[in-house]
Protein backbone atom coordinates (compact mmCIF):
# COMPACT_ATOMS: atom_id res chain seq x y z
CA UNK A 1 0.00 0.00 0.00
CA UNK A 2 2.70 2.43 1.05
CA UNK A 3 4.83 1.38 -1.85
CA UNK A 4 1.98 2.02 -4.23
CA UNK A 5 1.59 5.50 -2.77
CA UNK A 6 5.25 6.24 -3.26
CA UNK A 7 5.13 5.06 -6.85
CA UNK A 8 2.07 7.10 -7.65
CA UNK A 9 3.60 10.15 -5.99
CA UNK A 10 6.70 9.61 -8.11
CA UNK A 11 4.63 9.29 -11.26
CA UNK A 12 2.59 12.36 -10.33
CA UNK A 13 5.73 14.39 -9.69
CA UNK A 14 7.44 13.56 -12.96
CA UNK A 15 4.31 13.78 -15.05
CA UNK A 16 3.72 17.25 -13.60
CA UNK A 17 7.28 18.24 -14.45
CA UNK A 18 6.91 17.02 -18.00
CA UNK A 19 3.46 18.44 -18.67
CA UNK A 20 4.36 21.80 -17.12
CA UNK A 21 7.71 22.19 -18.86
CA UNK A 22 7.07 20.82 -22.33
CA UNK A 23 5.10 23.78 -23.76
CA UNK A 24 7.70 26.35 -22.69
CA UNK A 25 10.70 24.23 -23.66
CA UNK A 26 9.25 23.32 -27.05
CA UNK A 27 8.32 26.87 -28.03
CA UNK A 28 11.65 28.17 -26.80
CA UNK A 29 13.71 25.54 -28.57
CA UNK A 30 11.84 25.76 -31.86
CA UNK A 31 11.51 29.54 -32.12
CA UNK A 32 14.50 30.91 -30.19
CA UNK A 33 17.38 28.43 -30.07
CA UNK A 34 17.08 26.59 -33.37
CA UNK A 35 16.91 29.75 -35.52
CA UNK A 36 20.35 30.82 -34.35
CA UNK A 37 21.89 27.54 -35.51
CA UNK A 38 19.90 27.62 -38.73
CA UNK A 39 21.12 31.15 -39.40
CA UNK A 40 24.69 29.95 -38.90
CA UNK A 41 24.07 27.18 -41.44
CA UNK A 42 22.36 29.40 -44.03
CA UNK A 43 25.14 31.95 -43.76
CA UNK A 44 27.46 29.70 -45.78
CA UNK A 45 25.12 29.61 -48.76
CA UNK A 46 23.91 31.92 -51.45
CA UNK A 47 20.18 31.42 -51.24
CA UNK A 48 16.93 33.23 -51.96
CA UNK A 49 14.74 31.03 -49.77
CA UNK A 50 13.34 28.86 -52.53
CA UNK A 51 13.97 25.13 -52.20
CA UNK A 52 16.88 23.92 -50.11
CA UNK A 53 20.09 25.96 -49.87
CA UNK A 54 22.50 24.41 -52.39
CA UNK A 55 25.01 26.98 -53.47
CA UNK A 56 27.73 26.67 -50.85
CA UNK A 57 29.95 29.74 -50.77
CA UNK A 58 32.01 29.23 -47.61
CA UNK A 59 32.87 32.46 -45.84
CA UNK A 60 32.18 34.65 -48.87
CA UNK A 61 29.09 36.25 -47.31
CA UNK A 62 31.17 37.26 -44.29
CA UNK A 63 34.05 38.46 -46.42
CA UNK A 64 31.69 40.62 -48.44
CA UNK A 65 30.08 41.96 -45.29
CA UNK A 66 33.33 43.17 -43.76
CA UNK A 67 34.42 44.82 -46.98
CA UNK A 68 31.07 46.55 -47.40
CA UNK A 69 31.27 50.25 -46.59
CA UNK A 70 27.59 50.55 -45.69
CA UNK A 71 27.83 47.74 -43.16
CA UNK A 72 31.02 49.10 -41.63
CA UNK A 73 29.30 52.45 -41.34
CA UNK A 74 26.33 50.73 -39.68
CA UNK A 75 28.73 49.18 -37.17
CA UNK A 76 30.14 52.61 -36.51
CA UNK A 77 26.63 53.99 -36.00
CA UNK A 78 25.86 51.24 -33.51
CA UNK A 79 29.04 52.19 -31.73
CA UNK A 80 27.86 55.81 -31.51
CA UNK A 81 24.47 54.72 -30.23
CA UNK A 82 26.18 52.70 -27.50
CA UNK A 83 28.54 55.55 -26.72
CA UNK A 84 25.74 58.10 -26.30
CA UNK A 85 23.64 55.61 -24.32
CA UNK A 86 26.44 54.85 -21.89
CA UNK A 87 28.14 58.20 -21.54
CA UNK A 88 25.27 60.65 -21.88
CA UNK A 89 22.03 58.81 -21.21
CA UNK A 90 23.06 56.71 -18.22
CA UNK A 91 24.91 59.42 -16.23
CA UNK A 92 21.93 61.66 -16.86
CA UNK A 93 19.52 58.94 -15.70
CA UNK A 94 21.65 58.38 -12.59
CA UNK A 95 21.76 62.08 -11.82
CA UNK A 96 17.97 62.31 -12.06
CA UNK A 97 17.50 59.12 -10.07
CA UNK A 98 19.57 60.54 -7.19
CA UNK A 99 17.15 63.47 -7.05
CA UNK A 100 13.91 61.68 -7.70
CA UNK A 101 14.49 58.70 -5.40
CA UNK A 102 13.65 61.12 -2.58
CA UNK A 103 9.99 61.64 -1.94
CA UNK A 104 9.72 65.42 -2.16
CA UNK A 105 6.57 67.06 -3.37
CA UNK A 106 5.97 66.33 -7.04
CA UNK A 107 8.68 63.66 -7.29
CA UNK A 108 6.19 60.96 -8.27
CA UNK A 109 4.76 63.11 -11.05
CA UNK A 110 8.19 63.85 -12.51
CA UNK A 111 9.13 60.17 -12.31
CA UNK A 112 6.04 59.15 -14.28
CA UNK A 113 6.56 61.92 -16.80
CA UNK A 114 10.16 60.98 -17.52
CA UNK A 115 9.19 57.35 -17.79
CA UNK A 116 6.33 58.03 -20.19
CA UNK A 117 8.30 57.97 -23.49
CA UNK A 118 9.52 54.47 -22.70
CA UNK A 119 6.08 52.91 -22.87
CA UNK A 120 5.18 54.51 -26.20
CA UNK A 121 5.70 52.23 -29.17
CA UNK A 122 9.04 52.99 -30.85
CA UNK A 123 7.22 53.64 -34.10
CA UNK A 124 4.97 56.20 -32.45
CA UNK A 125 7.76 57.98 -30.56
CA UNK A 126 9.77 58.08 -33.74
CA UNK A 127 6.92 59.44 -35.86
CA UNK A 128 6.34 62.23 -33.35
CA UNK A 129 9.96 63.22 -33.81
CA UNK A 130 9.70 62.97 -37.58
CA UNK A 131 7.07 65.66 -37.22
CA UNK A 132 9.17 67.76 -34.81
CA UNK A 133 12.16 67.57 -37.16
CA UNK A 134 10.20 68.49 -40.25
CA UNK A 135 11.62 71.45 -42.10
CA UNK A 136 8.26 72.70 -43.36
CA UNK A 137 5.79 72.39 -40.51
CA UNK A 138 7.77 70.90 -37.66
CA UNK A 139 9.02 72.63 -34.55
CA UNK A 140 12.57 72.73 -35.87
CA UNK A 141 11.38 74.45 -39.02
CA UNK A 142 9.43 76.98 -36.96
CA UNK A 143 12.40 77.79 -34.71
CA UNK A 144 14.66 78.35 -37.70
CA UNK A 145 11.91 80.45 -39.24
CA UNK A 146 12.08 82.82 -36.27
CA UNK A 147 15.62 83.70 -37.29
CA UNK A 148 14.49 84.11 -40.85
CA UNK A 149 16.67 81.24 -41.98
CA UNK A 150 15.74 78.44 -44.29
CA UNK A 151 15.12 75.40 -42.13
CA UNK A 152 17.44 72.44 -42.51
CA UNK A 153 15.73 69.12 -43.13
CA UNK A 154 17.56 67.36 -40.31
CA UNK A 155 16.62 63.77 -41.06
CA UNK A 156 17.56 64.15 -44.72
CA UNK A 157 20.90 65.81 -43.98
CA UNK A 158 23.91 63.52 -43.98
CA UNK A 159 25.66 65.56 -41.29
CA UNK A 160 22.72 65.68 -38.90
CA UNK A 161 20.62 62.57 -39.46
CA UNK A 162 22.51 60.39 -36.99
CA UNK A 163 22.41 63.10 -34.32
CA UNK A 164 18.66 63.35 -34.87
CA UNK A 165 18.36 59.62 -34.16
CA UNK A 166 20.60 59.81 -31.09
CA UNK A 167 18.44 62.55 -29.58
CA UNK A 168 15.35 60.38 -29.94
CA UNK A 169 17.20 57.41 -28.41
CA UNK A 170 18.02 59.40 -25.28
CA UNK A 171 14.53 60.94 -25.14
CA UNK A 172 12.92 57.51 -25.38
CA UNK A 173 15.09 55.43 -23.09
CA UNK A 174 16.55 57.52 -20.27
CA UNK A 175 13.34 57.04 -18.26
CA UNK A 176 13.57 53.28 -17.92
CA UNK A 177 17.14 53.49 -16.65
CA UNK A 178 16.16 56.24 -14.26
CA UNK A 179 13.39 53.98 -12.93
CA UNK A 180 15.69 50.97 -12.58
CA UNK A 181 18.18 53.10 -10.64
CA UNK A 182 15.47 54.65 -8.46
CA UNK A 183 14.25 51.23 -7.46
CA UNK A 184 17.85 50.29 -6.65
CA UNK A 185 18.38 53.47 -4.63
CA UNK A 186 15.19 52.95 -2.67
CA UNK A 187 16.51 49.55 -1.67
CA UNK A 188 19.48 51.10 0.16
CA UNK A 189 18.86 50.90 3.90
CA UNK A 190 18.06 54.18 5.63
CA UNK A 191 20.56 53.43 8.43
CA UNK A 192 23.52 53.56 6.08
CA UNK A 193 22.49 56.99 4.80
CA UNK A 194 21.77 58.23 8.32
CA UNK A 195 25.14 56.99 9.54
CA UNK A 196 26.87 58.89 6.75
CA UNK A 197 24.92 62.02 7.63
CA UNK A 198 25.97 61.76 11.27
CA UNK A 199 29.58 61.42 10.15
CA UNK A 200 29.13 64.76 8.43
CA UNK A 201 28.81 63.66 4.80
CA UNK A 202 26.94 66.14 2.60
CA UNK A 203 24.54 65.06 -0.13
CA UNK A 204 27.27 65.03 -2.80
CA UNK A 205 29.67 62.95 -0.71
CA UNK A 206 26.86 60.56 0.22
CA UNK A 207 25.96 60.13 -3.43
CA UNK A 208 29.54 59.60 -4.60
CA UNK A 209 30.92 57.55 -1.73
CA UNK A 210 27.90 55.57 -0.59
CA UNK A 211 24.91 55.53 -2.93
CA UNK A 212 26.74 55.01 -6.22
CA UNK A 213 29.02 52.22 -4.93
CA UNK A 214 26.05 50.39 -3.40
CA UNK A 215 24.07 50.96 -6.58
CA UNK A 216 26.90 49.71 -8.80
CA UNK A 217 25.38 46.27 -9.61
CA UNK A 218 22.22 48.05 -10.77
CA UNK A 219 24.29 50.47 -12.83
CA UNK A 220 26.17 47.62 -14.52
CA UNK A 221 22.82 46.07 -15.31
CA UNK A 222 21.72 49.31 -16.97
CA UNK A 223 24.99 49.40 -18.89
CA UNK A 224 24.38 45.87 -20.08
CA UNK A 225 20.74 46.41 -21.03
CA UNK A 226 21.36 49.62 -22.92
CA UNK A 227 24.34 48.13 -24.77
CA UNK A 228 22.23 45.17 -25.89
CA UNK A 229 19.37 47.49 -26.80
CA UNK A 230 21.66 49.80 -28.75
CA UNK A 231 23.06 46.89 -30.72
CA UNK A 232 19.54 45.93 -31.81
CA UNK A 233 18.13 49.37 -32.56
CA UNK A 234 15.68 49.15 -35.45
CA UNK A 235 12.15 50.49 -34.85
CA UNK A 236 13.26 54.02 -33.98
CA UNK A 237 15.34 54.39 -37.12
CA UNK A 238 12.73 53.20 -39.62
CA UNK A 239 10.29 56.13 -39.49
CA UNK A 240 13.06 58.70 -39.04
CA UNK A 241 15.48 57.86 -41.83
CA UNK A 242 15.08 54.21 -42.92
CA UNK A 243 18.86 54.14 -42.88
CA UNK A 244 19.16 57.08 -45.27
CA UNK A 245 20.10 59.54 -46.60
CA UNK A 246 22.44 57.55 -48.88
CA UNK A 247 22.60 54.73 -46.30
CA UNK A 248 24.54 56.77 -43.73
CA UNK A 249 22.27 56.06 -40.74
CA UNK A 250 21.87 52.30 -40.95
CA UNK A 251 22.22 50.24 -37.81
CA UNK A 252 23.19 46.60 -38.11
CA UNK A 253 19.56 45.55 -37.89
CA UNK A 254 18.18 48.04 -40.42
CA UNK A 255 21.03 46.95 -42.69
CA UNK A 256 19.97 43.34 -42.19
CA UNK A 257 16.37 44.24 -42.96
CA UNK A 258 17.19 46.31 -46.04
CA UNK A 259 19.98 44.30 -47.65
CA UNK A 260 19.24 40.79 -46.37
CA UNK A 261 15.51 40.34 -45.91
CA UNK A 262 14.27 43.07 -48.23
CA UNK A 263 16.26 41.74 -51.18
CA UNK A 264 15.64 38.09 -50.30
CA UNK A 265 19.38 37.45 -49.99
CA UNK A 266 18.80 35.07 -47.14
CA UNK A 267 22.28 33.57 -46.98
CA UNK A 268 23.86 36.99 -46.81
CA UNK A 269 21.22 38.17 -44.33
CA UNK A 270 21.97 35.16 -42.15
CA UNK A 271 25.62 36.12 -42.08
CA UNK A 272 24.59 39.55 -40.77
CA UNK A 273 22.38 37.83 -38.18
CA UNK A 274 25.28 35.73 -37.00
CA UNK A 275 27.53 38.78 -36.63
CA UNK A 276 24.85 40.55 -34.57
CA UNK A 277 24.41 37.46 -32.47
CA UNK A 278 28.12 37.06 -31.79
CA UNK A 279 28.52 40.69 -30.77
CA UNK A 280 25.55 40.47 -28.37
CA UNK A 281 26.84 37.18 -27.05
CA UNK A 282 30.26 38.63 -26.30
CA UNK A 283 28.67 41.59 -24.51
CA UNK A 284 26.59 39.20 -22.40
CA UNK A 285 29.66 37.14 -21.63
CA UNK A 286 31.61 40.19 -20.50
CA UNK A 287 28.68 41.21 -18.31
CA UNK A 288 28.41 37.72 -16.80
CA UNK A 289 32.09 37.44 -15.98
CA UNK A 290 32.38 40.92 -14.46
CA UNK A 291 29.28 40.31 -12.35
CA UNK A 292 30.62 36.97 -11.18
CA UNK A 293 33.92 38.63 -10.37
CA UNK A 294 32.14 41.35 -8.37
CA UNK A 295 30.23 38.72 -6.45
CA UNK A 296 33.51 36.94 -5.71
CA UNK A 297 34.85 40.00 -3.93
CA UNK A 298 31.86 40.31 -1.62
Amino acid sequence: MIKKNITSAFVEKYSTIIIFLVPALTLFTVFVVMPIFEAAYFSFYRWNGMGAPEKYVGFKNYAFLFKNGIFLNALKNNFWIIFVSLFIQLPFALFLALFLANNFRGAAVFRSLFFLPYILAEIVASLIWVYIYKGDYGLVGAIWGLFGADAPWITADKEWALTAILIVVVWKYFGIHMMIMISGLQGISKEVIEAAKIDGAGPVTTALRIKIPILWPTITLSIFLSTLGSLQLFDLIMPLTMGGPSNVTHSMVTYLYDFGVGRMRLGFGSAISVVIFIICFVVALIYQTTILKDKGYN
Partner: protein
Protein backbone atom coordinates in the same frame (compact mmCIF):
# COMPACT_ATOMS: atom_id res chain seq x y z
CA UNK B 1 18.00 71.24 4.71
CA UNK B 2 18.17 72.56 1.20
CA UNK B 3 17.83 76.28 0.81
CA UNK B 4 14.76 77.74 -0.88
CA UNK B 5 16.85 78.94 -3.79
CA UNK B 6 18.36 75.56 -4.62
CA UNK B 7 14.91 74.04 -4.39
CA UNK B 8 13.69 76.63 -6.86
CA UNK B 9 16.47 75.73 -9.29
CA UNK B 10 15.71 72.05 -8.91
CA UNK B 11 12.06 72.53 -9.81
CA UNK B 12 13.03 74.81 -12.66
CA UNK B 13 15.37 72.17 -14.04
CA UNK B 14 12.83 69.35 -13.65
CA UNK B 15 10.11 71.43 -15.29
CA UNK B 16 12.42 72.21 -18.18
CA UNK B 17 12.99 68.48 -18.68
CA UNK B 18 9.30 67.78 -18.37
CA UNK B 19 8.83 70.31 -21.15
CA UNK B 20 11.21 68.38 -23.41
CA UNK B 21 9.12 65.28 -22.84
CA UNK B 22 5.75 66.97 -23.18
CA UNK B 23 6.20 69.53 -25.96
CA UNK B 24 6.49 66.93 -28.76
CA UNK B 25 3.43 65.12 -27.44
CA UNK B 26 1.52 68.36 -27.01
CA UNK B 27 2.35 69.58 -30.51
CA UNK B 28 1.29 66.27 -32.02
CA UNK B 29 -2.00 66.35 -30.22
CA UNK B 30 -2.80 69.97 -30.90
CA UNK B 31 -1.89 69.69 -34.57
CA UNK B 32 -4.44 66.96 -35.11
CA UNK B 33 -7.13 69.66 -34.78
CA UNK B 34 -5.56 71.93 -37.40
CA UNK B 35 -6.20 72.26 -41.08
CA UNK B 36 -3.22 71.52 -43.28
CA UNK B 37 -2.75 75.24 -43.99
CA UNK B 38 -2.86 76.07 -40.30
CA UNK B 39 -0.35 73.29 -39.66
CA UNK B 40 2.31 74.84 -41.86
CA UNK B 41 1.81 78.51 -41.00
CA UNK B 42 1.07 78.18 -37.30
CA UNK B 43 3.28 75.51 -35.81
CA UNK B 44 3.32 76.29 -32.12
CA UNK B 45 0.06 78.08 -31.43
CA UNK B 46 -3.37 76.67 -30.80
CA UNK B 47 -5.45 75.93 -33.89
CA UNK B 48 -6.93 79.09 -35.39
CA UNK B 49 -10.03 77.09 -36.02
CA UNK B 50 -10.59 73.77 -34.27
CA UNK B 51 -11.53 71.14 -36.79
CA UNK B 52 -12.63 67.61 -36.03
CA UNK B 53 -12.86 66.32 -39.56
CA UNK B 54 -9.44 64.65 -39.26
CA UNK B 55 -10.87 62.48 -36.52
CA UNK B 56 -14.11 61.66 -38.29
CA UNK B 57 -12.08 60.83 -41.40
CA UNK B 58 -9.79 58.45 -39.53
CA UNK B 59 -12.66 56.85 -37.64
CA UNK B 60 -14.44 56.35 -40.93
CA UNK B 61 -11.68 54.14 -42.28
CA UNK B 62 -12.39 50.48 -42.15
CA UNK B 63 -8.78 49.42 -41.86
CA UNK B 64 -8.22 51.74 -38.91
CA UNK B 65 -10.50 49.48 -36.90
CA UNK B 66 -9.07 46.29 -38.33
CA UNK B 67 -5.52 47.37 -37.33
CA UNK B 68 -6.74 47.96 -33.79
CA UNK B 69 -8.61 44.67 -33.72
CA UNK B 70 -5.59 42.76 -35.03
CA UNK B 71 -3.31 44.24 -32.39
CA UNK B 72 -5.83 43.26 -29.75
CA UNK B 73 -5.92 39.68 -31.03
CA UNK B 74 -2.11 39.44 -31.21
CA UNK B 75 -1.83 40.92 -27.73
CA UNK B 76 -4.49 38.80 -26.04
CA UNK B 77 -3.36 35.51 -27.57
CA UNK B 78 0.28 36.23 -26.74
CA UNK B 79 -0.51 37.29 -23.20
CA UNK B 80 -2.81 34.41 -22.30
CA UNK B 81 -0.51 31.75 -23.69
CA UNK B 82 2.61 33.35 -22.18
CA UNK B 83 0.93 33.40 -18.76
CA UNK B 84 0.01 29.72 -19.06
CA UNK B 85 3.34 28.41 -20.36
CA UNK B 86 5.56 30.62 -18.22
CA UNK B 87 3.70 30.18 -14.93
CA UNK B 88 3.66 26.40 -15.26
CA UNK B 89 7.35 26.25 -16.08
CA UNK B 90 8.23 28.69 -13.31
CA UNK B 91 6.23 26.65 -10.82
CA UNK B 92 8.30 23.58 -11.63
CA UNK B 93 11.54 25.56 -11.30
CA UNK B 94 10.47 27.14 -8.01
CA UNK B 95 8.87 24.22 -6.20
CA UNK B 96 9.84 20.84 -7.59
CA UNK B 97 13.28 19.44 -7.00
CA UNK B 98 14.56 17.19 -9.71
CA UNK B 99 17.74 16.46 -11.58
CA UNK B 100 18.22 19.10 -14.29
CA UNK B 101 16.08 21.80 -12.68
CA UNK B 102 18.82 24.41 -12.59
CA UNK B 103 20.11 23.45 -16.02
CA UNK B 104 16.73 23.81 -17.74
CA UNK B 105 16.07 27.08 -15.97
CA UNK B 106 19.38 28.50 -17.18
CA UNK B 107 18.67 27.17 -20.65
CA UNK B 108 15.47 29.21 -20.82
CA UNK B 109 17.22 32.25 -19.37
CA UNK B 110 19.85 32.43 -22.09
CA UNK B 111 16.94 33.46 -24.29
CA UNK B 112 17.05 36.82 -22.51
CA UNK B 113 20.24 37.76 -24.29
CA UNK B 114 19.39 36.33 -27.70
CA UNK B 115 18.99 39.25 -30.07
CA UNK B 116 15.63 38.85 -31.70
CA UNK B 117 16.85 40.32 -34.98
CA UNK B 118 19.32 37.45 -35.41
CA UNK B 119 16.47 34.99 -35.64
CA UNK B 120 14.22 36.72 -38.16
CA UNK B 121 15.28 34.89 -41.32
CA UNK B 122 15.06 31.34 -39.96
CA UNK B 123 11.88 32.30 -38.10
CA UNK B 124 10.26 33.49 -41.29
CA UNK B 125 11.23 30.29 -43.13
CA UNK B 126 10.05 28.10 -40.26
CA UNK B 127 6.71 29.84 -40.00
CA UNK B 128 6.32 29.59 -43.76
CA UNK B 129 7.15 25.88 -43.74
CA UNK B 130 4.69 25.28 -40.90
CA UNK B 131 2.06 26.88 -43.12
CA UNK B 132 1.34 29.62 -40.59
CA UNK B 133 1.94 32.64 -42.83
CA UNK B 134 -1.26 34.61 -43.16
CA UNK B 135 -2.50 33.59 -39.71
CA UNK B 136 -2.26 35.28 -36.33
CA UNK B 137 0.00 32.47 -35.13
CA UNK B 138 2.85 33.64 -37.36
CA UNK B 139 3.32 36.55 -34.96
CA UNK B 140 1.94 35.07 -31.76
CA UNK B 141 4.10 31.95 -31.43
CA UNK B 142 7.51 33.63 -31.88
CA UNK B 143 6.37 36.43 -29.56
CA UNK B 144 5.54 33.95 -26.82
CA UNK B 145 8.82 32.10 -27.30
CA UNK B 146 10.89 35.27 -27.04
CA UNK B 147 8.97 36.55 -24.01
CA UNK B 148 9.18 33.31 -22.03
CA UNK B 149 12.57 33.86 -20.40
CA UNK B 150 11.62 37.16 -18.85
CA UNK B 151 8.18 35.94 -17.76
CA UNK B 152 9.59 32.80 -16.18
CA UNK B 153 12.19 34.85 -14.33
CA UNK B 154 9.51 37.09 -12.84
CA UNK B 155 7.15 34.21 -11.98
CA UNK B 156 9.85 32.09 -10.40
CA UNK B 157 11.03 34.94 -8.18
CA UNK B 158 7.49 35.41 -6.93
CA UNK B 159 6.67 31.72 -6.49
CA UNK B 160 9.86 31.22 -4.46
CA UNK B 161 8.44 33.50 -1.82
CA UNK B 162 5.55 31.11 -1.19
CA UNK B 163 6.70 29.21 1.91
CA UNK B 164 7.48 25.54 1.28
CA UNK B 165 5.72 24.68 4.58
CA UNK B 166 2.50 25.46 2.77
CA UNK B 167 3.21 22.71 0.30
CA UNK B 168 4.13 20.22 3.06
CA UNK B 169 0.84 20.96 4.80
CA UNK B 170 -1.12 20.61 1.58
CA UNK B 171 0.72 17.40 0.75
CA UNK B 172 -0.34 15.84 4.05
CA UNK B 173 -3.91 16.74 3.15
CA UNK B 174 -3.54 14.73 -0.04
CA UNK B 175 -2.81 17.60 -2.38
CA UNK B 176 -0.44 16.83 -5.25
CA UNK B 177 1.74 19.20 -7.29
CA UNK B 178 -0.76 20.14 -9.93
CA UNK B 179 -3.53 20.62 -7.36
CA UNK B 180 -1.19 22.83 -5.40
CA UNK B 181 -0.40 24.90 -8.47
CA UNK B 182 -4.03 25.47 -9.40
CA UNK B 183 -5.54 25.79 -5.92
CA UNK B 184 -2.83 27.58 -3.98
CA UNK B 185 -0.07 29.07 -6.13
CA UNK B 186 -2.32 30.77 -8.68
CA UNK B 187 -4.71 32.40 -6.18
CA UNK B 188 -1.75 33.69 -4.18
CA UNK B 189 0.02 35.09 -7.24
CA UNK B 190 -2.48 37.50 -8.74
CA UNK B 191 -0.08 40.49 -8.53
CA UNK B 192 2.65 38.76 -10.53
CA UNK B 193 0.14 37.50 -13.10
CA UNK B 194 -1.05 41.07 -13.55
CA UNK B 195 2.51 42.35 -13.88
CA UNK B 196 3.56 39.78 -16.47
CA UNK B 197 0.28 40.23 -18.33
CA UNK B 198 0.70 43.98 -18.58
CA UNK B 199 4.34 43.85 -19.68
CA UNK B 200 3.65 41.09 -22.23
CA UNK B 201 0.64 42.86 -23.67
CA UNK B 202 2.46 46.19 -24.02
CA UNK B 203 5.44 44.49 -25.68
CA UNK B 204 3.14 42.75 -28.13
CA UNK B 205 1.14 45.91 -28.83
CA UNK B 206 4.32 47.86 -29.60
CA UNK B 207 6.09 45.14 -31.58
CA UNK B 208 7.06 46.16 -35.09
CA UNK B 209 9.96 44.11 -36.46
CA UNK B 210 8.31 40.69 -36.10
CA UNK B 211 5.02 41.52 -37.84
CA UNK B 212 6.99 43.44 -40.45
CA UNK B 213 8.73 40.19 -41.37
CA UNK B 214 5.73 37.88 -40.98
CA UNK B 215 2.68 39.81 -42.14
CA UNK B 216 2.33 40.76 -45.77
CA UNK B 217 -1.45 40.88 -45.87
CA UNK B 218 -2.83 44.32 -44.93
CA UNK B 219 -5.87 42.71 -43.36
CA UNK B 220 -3.64 41.26 -40.65
CA UNK B 221 -1.50 44.36 -39.99
CA UNK B 222 -1.13 45.24 -36.33
CA UNK B 223 -1.31 48.85 -35.19
CA UNK B 224 2.36 49.92 -35.59
CA UNK B 225 2.44 48.60 -39.15
CA UNK B 226 -0.87 50.31 -39.67
CA UNK B 227 0.63 53.66 -38.69
CA UNK B 228 3.48 53.22 -41.13
CA UNK B 229 1.04 52.20 -43.84
CA UNK B 230 -1.08 55.24 -43.06
CA UNK B 231 1.95 57.49 -43.13
CA UNK B 232 2.76 56.25 -46.61
CA UNK B 233 -0.80 56.94 -47.74
CA UNK B 234 -1.00 60.43 -46.27
CA UNK B 235 2.55 61.67 -46.60
CA UNK B 236 1.25 64.91 -48.05
CA UNK B 237 -1.34 65.44 -45.34
CA UNK B 238 0.43 65.29 -42.01
CA UNK B 239 -2.57 66.53 -40.07
CA UNK B 240 -4.09 63.13 -40.81
CA UNK B 241 -0.93 61.29 -39.78
CA UNK B 242 -0.82 63.29 -36.54
CA UNK B 243 -4.46 62.48 -35.88
CA UNK B 244 -3.66 58.82 -36.19
CA UNK B 245 -0.65 59.19 -33.90
CA UNK B 246 -2.76 61.11 -31.36
CA UNK B 247 -5.31 58.33 -31.40
CA UNK B 248 -2.45 56.00 -30.51
CA UNK B 249 -1.12 58.23 -27.77
CA UNK B 250 -4.34 58.76 -25.88
CA UNK B 251 -5.13 55.11 -25.04
CA UNK B 252 -1.43 54.43 -24.45
CA UNK B 253 -1.18 57.23 -21.90
CA UNK B 254 -4.44 56.28 -20.18
CA UNK B 255 -3.32 52.67 -20.02
CA UNK B 256 0.06 53.77 -18.69
CA UNK B 257 -1.53 55.82 -15.90
CA UNK B 258 -3.78 52.91 -14.91
CA UNK B 259 -1.19 50.14 -15.13
CA UNK B 260 1.92 52.13 -14.22
CA UNK B 261 2.36 50.20 -10.98
CA UNK B 262 2.52 46.88 -12.81
CA UNK B 263 4.68 48.12 -15.65
CA UNK B 264 7.30 49.53 -13.33
CA UNK B 265 7.16 46.53 -11.00
CA UNK B 266 7.64 44.22 -13.96
CA UNK B 267 10.47 46.10 -15.57
CA UNK B 268 12.47 47.10 -12.52
CA UNK B 269 11.64 43.98 -10.49
CA UNK B 270 12.81 41.70 -13.26
CA UNK B 271 15.88 43.82 -13.69
CA UNK B 272 16.99 44.25 -10.10
CA UNK B 273 16.36 40.74 -8.87
CA UNK B 274 18.62 37.80 -9.80
Amino acid sequence: MQSKLSKFYMYLFLSFLAGIILVPLYLTFISSFKTLGDLSSNVIGLPREWIFSNYTDVFGMEYFWSFAWNSLVYGVLTTVLTLICASMAAFVFAHIRFFGNRFLFNYLLIGLMFPFASAIIPLFLKVRDFGLLGTYWAVVLPQIAFGLGFAILLFRGFFKQIPPELFDAAYVDGCNYSNFFFRITIPLSVPIFSTVAVVTFVTSWNNYLLPLIMVSNEELYPWPMGIMFFRGEYDTDWSMVLTYVSLTLIPAIVFFLLAQKYIIAGLTGGAVKE
